[in-house]
Amino acid sequence: MDVLGNYKSVISARAADKDIQKKAQDGGIVTTLFAYALEEGIIDGAIVAGPSDEPWKPEPMVVTTKAELLAAAGTRYTISPNLQLIKEATRSYGLDRVGIVGTPCQVQATRKAQLYPIGMRDVDDKIALVLGIYCMENLSYQALEAIVEDHCNQKMESVKKMDIGKGKFTVYTERGAVSQMPLKYIHKYVQPGCHVCLDYVANLADISTGSVGSPDGWSTVFVRSNKGNAVWDGAMAAGLFETKDMEGVKPGLDLVKKLATEKITKNQKHVDERKSFGLKADGTPKALRNPYETP
């Protein structure tokens, strides 16, 4: 499979809805698609990264209305274990058609839950729409705190928006301050599990999206599966997105491909290095566990 995965079309897009544009991280693609899918009955709820008691710490949440969706919009650069609710959404919440958004690893987990539903009773056919977001690597909450409070010298609770782009981690505060950390310092904070990830643009999602490749305020959207295609066509017909031809936008698809290749090459090297990590008594290499080979 190509580093960008299988896809039917790739488009640069943003939400036509001004409310969503204001709340969204970039183009408001996930919020708009879930709002549309809720409206049309394609899903009757979605698992998203909602707010929690601590500032910028996401908590997985099942939303069933557009207002709840908007309250959860925007990116938090730390883990929201959304899969935690995938069975629960079909039980306590009684959903028959579940939407879920996740990073590439979470989309992989969702597909594994569908193909090998070992502990996921009556879940596989209730997963109605899987949206993926591009992900280079992720941070624990404590790592995010260290970046915001130590490196950027801002209180977590005073931050209005966080953003990664153009080689910088940027923090915008409520009072208008802008603090930055060069991304090269992020490495020691990345959670180890991310170094074996071989997917950048959520290859197994129905639709995946992220800011990379499109101008500020726009997102690059890959429409991948038949299901994703039907939802995208419906949302387009309803006039929910402004779009630009991917060929015409800067920096364009080449940048997405470049970053995907970089991530996968670097992490494949890490996976390979784990194979000869240690040393056996007979002088041959001793391997760490490789999830891509055996359980």
Binding site: I79, C105, P117, G119, D122, C194, T294, P295
Partner: protein, 261 residues
């Protein structure tokens, strides 16, 4: 007049269920496919042996034997029947967590009415070789459905279908080689300690007894609640992830749905 069952499809595989020390939840799970079970039995498999569902008293020859429950070493009949099932089946499946890992029967210490002498319960792989594991307590109807369809394709399909079924079943066969001890602790030993956990939340979502919570992005196992069913680890995308199968998820889901129509 003698009633004979119509056999619209001649080339079915034969499946049986051997019931050892389990709660019958695994057998009920098979039936929880509802009309899907009829479809499986109409087109793909003959159920030749199963408690209450089939009137056969003695373990017959079969292609696939699903073994439910752990094996009580103090019960001669269990041991004999398990060995007989191994000898008479081409593929022996540890169906559910008791057969695979001992599960809740791991905690048995004997002294129970009305067989106080029965206290030694082991995963079936302590007694016989096992080809394939299907963990969790209970297993999922959709998982046994998928395995039944794949087993059919493996034994009766064309070359392409055989290749797909082999790729699909391989990790479950590898799981049987991995060992017969399971616990929420596997998430520590084989995922977090190995630098592989990325905090997706699957383990917490899958645990049948809600023993796992996500604390600051990583699973935290309440080890007193854990029943040792193996669901968390086998469902974890970092226990195994086979791209050759997963990348084709859309085609496989369509194929299984098509087979069940």
């Amino acid at each position: 007049m003698e009633l004979k069952e119509e056999k619209p499809v001649a080339d079915k595989i034969t499946i049986g269920e051997l019931h050892l020390s389990g709660c019958t939840g695994c057998l009920v799970t098979l039936a929880d496919n509802y009309e899907g079970l009829f479809k499986l039995l109409d087109d793909y498999a003959d159920l030749v042996y199963a408690l209450t569902l089939v009137d056969v008293r003695h373990v017959p020859e079969m292609d696939v034997c699903l073994v439910e429950g752990s094996c009580c070493l103090n019960d001669e009949i269990s041991v004999e029947e398990l060995k007989e099932a191994r000898a008479k089946s081409a593929v022996l499946v540890a169906y559910g967590a008791c057969a695979a890992y001992g599960n809740i029967t791991r905690f048995c210490r004997g002294g129970q009415w009305n067989q106080p002498g029965q206290e030694a319960f082991v995963p079936i792989s302590e007694v016989v070789d096992v080809d394939l594991y299907l963990p969790s307590c209970p297993p999922c109807p959709q998982a046994i459905r998928n395995i039944a369809v794949m087993a059919y394709l493996l034994l009766k399909g064309n070359d392409e279908q055989k290749a797909l079924a082999t790729a699909y079943l391989t990790p479950l066969m590898q799981l049987a080689q991995r060992g017969n001890e399971a616990c929420g602790c596997d998430l520590m030993y084989d995922v977090i300690n190995q630098g592989l956990c990325m905090g997706c939340g699957t383990c917490a979502g899958t645990c049948p007894v809600r023993a796992i919570t996500m604390e600051y992005g990583k699973p935290n196992v309440n080890r007193d609640l854990c029943i040792k069913c193996g669901a968390c680890y086998s469902q974890c995308p970092r226990s195994w992830f086979n791209f050759d199968v997963m990348n084709n998820y859309e085609g496989i889901i369509d194929a299984i749905n098509g087979a069940m129509k």
